[in-house]
């Protein structure tokens, strides 16, 4: 719970620092993108802070490259 609270504080600080600059420049696309990336980051980090099972991206790449690596090891052995 403490971790989630800290993350929310960090999130508000980031918005407080960055968004006024974007608002000032009237950059709508950048603002949307900023919020999307921040939302993805917040979701992933809150899941991690709550101890939920977050999928590992290196598992995905390991699954994709498994046939090639088996082939390479077969060549080398």
């Amino acid at each position: 719970m403490l971790g989630v609270l800290g993350l929310l504080i960090v999130c508000t600080l980031v918005i407080w620092f960055e968004v006024p600059k974007l608002r000032h420049k009237k950059a709508k696309k950048e603002l949307w993108l900023f919020y999307t990336v921040l939302a993805i980051g917040m979701v992933v980090s809150i899941c991690k802070a709550l101890g939920l099972n977050v999928p590992n991206p290196s598992d995905l790449s390991a699954a994709i490259f498994k046939p090639i690596s088996i082939f390479l090891f077969h060549l080398l052995s």
Partner: protein, 167 residues
């Protein structure tokens, strides 16, 4: 790719590239040579960080000891610069993909994702070793050879098309 698309002075950048490569290679060769000469081939094979082990063994007359601390501090500094370069490349690539001029804008959200990923990506050392031996080789083949080759061929075809349409 920071080099050569984000370096204004290509000639100087090429020079620095070569100097850095040669210096890094020399350091690498010295470390490997020292590791084999001091620790022996078997021991330098099974230890995860031979340079740290080398620093631990330095003992000049029971006086100059504990050099491994210096090596650990050096690791912190080098890792900081490595992290800076990777983070810079990530931000530049991100800004390039979405056609944004100011790449500094996304440093906070991307840093948030990066810090969380640093905890997720390698759950343990054995997982890291397994991933490095099994997945890293085909992955680096794809990113380091096939992708640049593909880009080169695509650029070549585009250049040829443009020239034939112009002339």
């Amino acid at each position: 790719m920071i080099f050569p698309s984000h370096t204004p002075d290509t000639k100087k950048a090429t020079q620095s590239f070569y100097i850095g490569n040669i210096a890094g290679g020399l350091v690498m060769v010295t470390l490997i040579l020292l590791g084999i000469l001091v620790l022996g081939p078997y021991y330098s094979q099974i230890t995860m960080f031979p340079s740290y082990e080398l620093g631990r063994r330095i003992d000049v007359g029971n006086f100059l000891q504990g050099i491994e601390v210096v090596i650990a501090i050096l690791w912190f500094i080098t890792l900081f610069f490595k992290l800076c370069i990777y983070f810079y490349a990530t931000l530049l690539g991100f800004a390039n993909v979405f056609h944004i001029k100011d790449y500094k804008l996304f440093s906070f959200p991307v840093a948030l994702i990066m810090i969380t990923l640093s905890l997720i990506v390698y759950p343990s050392v054995s997982y890291q070793k397994d991933w490095d031996t099994k997945t890293w080789i085909p992955y680096s083949l794809l990113v380091g050879i096939l992708y640049p080759l593909f880009l080169l061929i695509a650029g070549f075809i585009q250049n040829k098309k443009r020239r034939s349409s112009n002339g």
